[in-house]
């Protein structure tokens, strides 16, 4: 799983893996991230992680050339992934998941089957993107894959749990969104008053736990604390 390096501009390039995103690939990306941050921080402006790329913004073009000359001979050992599993409570109900019933109908599944399929896996957090605090998760059951809506919902409420394409995710803040909303979580997912503003790290896992509407409506800060230990 050796990456190639694609130069995009004199100060921008990316490490490229042409494989599907997996835990194995994430372990290798972590090894590259650690190596780059340890050895190149002074000449690097920014690193951004995606499912199959690591994008590197260099301070100048000679910094990038320096890295290209070294990167070909690198042979890095994959980094073990963290074992932490976060439980994320979700109320799956038509009241809080406005698309749940249509979604189940078009997949030919009962609501219970959708909930069962969605709460069963542990999802791996690969990186944050799209919105502040939005997890990119790997591990959605193919039985729940569903093309995005052709017309996005103008204002998806914060905490909405949704499915789009091969992915599931949680809207941390209100935003327009093209994914199918199947539930709502009462947890905060992005808070600038906290340092850091997110409570999970890439590589950790999350598992959805069903709660009912009464639990969601009576959710207290203390309940959040219990979940985010």
């Amino acid at each position: 799983m050796k990456p190639t390096y694609q130069l995009i501009s004199p100060t921008l390039g990316e490490l490229v893996w042409n494989t599907e995103p997996t835990d194995e690939l994430l372990s290798i990306q972590f090894a590259y991230l650690t190596y780059i941050q340890t050895n190149f921080s002074p000449i690097l402006l920014e690193v951004r992680q995606g499912f199959t790329r690591l994008s590197l913004v260099w301070k100048n073009s000679s910094s990038q050339q320096e890295f290209i000359q070294l990167s070909g001979s690198l042979n890095l050992i994959p980094e073990p992934l963290p074992e932490k599993v976060w439980k994320v409570p979700v109320c799956y109900s038509p009241e809080f998941g406005q698309d749940l019933e249509d979604f189940a109908k078009s997949k030919n599944l009962s609501l219970e089957e959708v909930i069962q399929l969605h709460t069963q896996p542990r999802y791996r957090i690969h990186f944050f993107g799209f919105l502040p605090g939005f997890f990119y998760l790997n591990g959605l059951s193919p039985k729940l894959h569903m093309p995005r809506k052709s017309v996005p919902t103008p204002a998806v409420p914060p905490g909405s749990v949704a499915i789009g394409g091969k992915q599931t995710g949680i809207y941390p803040i209100q935003s327009p969104g093209g994914w199918h909303i199947i539930g709502r979580s009462p947890l905060p997912f992005f808070d600038m008053k906290q340092v850091p503003p997110v409570w999970a790290k890439p590589g950790e896992q999350i598992q959805f736990v069903p709660i009912n509407a009464t639990q969601l409506e009576n959710w207290k800060d203390a309940d959040t604390k219990n979940f985010l230990q």
Binding site: Q6, I8, S9, L12, E14, V16, E20, P21, L45, E46, R48, Q49, G50, F51, T52, R53, L54, S55, V57, F127, F128, G129, F130, L131, P132, G133, F134, Y136, G165, Q167, P172, I173, F190, M192, P196, P197, V198
Partner: protein
């Protein structure tokens, strides 16, 4: 020399007005966009005139109509779009640097050229800088955009000597229709017909444009599948399944799943930020 905290009242604030600096790189790991001035060239020039430090916070306007009253004396500068400017209703012929007196009112009229205007103030507007930047963004700064009746703060130097220099801002550099770009990471996935279409025909700025992205009116038909979500940057050009071209700008999310077909140079991003709805552009590969 004595410095006191001055207040600037936004007596009228058009939609789309925000505070901006060079933006933040510290938040990308949490999914926080870079933000910052859409036209960094204009922003830097206006700050340079006042000898401001890096990251001095300025007002970015995307429409005419701003009316702002400064309670204490200060020096302000304007760059980016070229607009009709008055102080206490008297027209200012060269508004590059203006010495504002106590209770003076500055008004921004029609933009003659360009689409984004920067109002800088000596020392910068005084705001918190979450994740290293004062650039407005929802969930990062409060408020996330500026509104009428709001107060901004600045440092007023009470013993000011007025600058003798009268530099003139010119907008020639953004009048060119050429937008220079590098081939993007997914450029090679396109056919030669698509390449030729992208490089040989004019595209026009769509009205569906904002700080997150500038859309173009013309479509480029494509059958590319969605790709795994990967990093994008300001200046990344995406091609959607419907054939729409979206040039990502400063407030774009840090990752995207559409093919990334071009990457604009910094200068091209600044130039594009000054284009108005309906303006033509040509992509030029470097």
């Amino acid at each position: 020399m004595s410095t006191i905290l001055g207040k600037a009242q936004l007596l009228r604030c058009p939609p789309g007005t925000t505070l901006q600096d060079e933006g933040r790189v510290l938040g990308a790991n949490y999914g926080v966009p870079r933000s910052g001035a859409m036209d960094l060239h204009g922003y830097h020039w206006a700050n340079h005139l006042l000898q401001n430090q890096n990251q001095a916070v300025a007002l970015e306007m995307a429409q005419p109509g701003l009316k702002i009253k400064f309670e204490e004396p200060c020096l302000v500068s304007l760059a980016g779009a070229v607009a009709f400017v008055t102080v206490n209703q008297a027209p200012i012929s060269n508004p590059s640097i203006i010495a504002m007196g106590s209770e003076d009112i500055l008004e921004i009229g029609k933009f003659r050229t360009g689409a984004r205007l920067y109002l800088c103030i000596e020392g910068g507007f005084q705001v918190e800088k979450p994740l290293g930047s004062g650039s407005d963004f929802v969930s990062i700064t409060t408020p996330a955009k500026r509104a009428t009746d709001e107060t901004l703060y600045y440092l007023s130097n009470q013993n000011k000597t007025v600058l003798q220099a009268k530099p003139k801002w010119t907008s020639d550099w953004f009048e060119s229709e050429e937008i220079q770009a590098y081939p993007g990471p997914d450029w090679e996935l396109l056919s030669s017909v698509q390449h030729s279409k992208l490089l040989n025909q004019p595209f026009h700025i769509s009205k569906l444009s904002n700080r997150m992205g500038i859309q173009l009116d013309e479509l480029v038909v494509n059958e590319l599948e969605d790709l795994p979500t990967n990093p994008v940057f300001p200046g990344t050009v995406q091609l959607t399944p419907g054939g729409k071209i979206i040039v990502l700008m400063r407030d774009a999310g840090v990752t995207g799943g559409y093919p990334r077909i071009l990457q604009l140079t910094e200068e091209a991003q600044n130039r594009l930020a000054q284009k108005k709805t309906g303006d033509p552009i040509y992509f030029q590969l470097i």
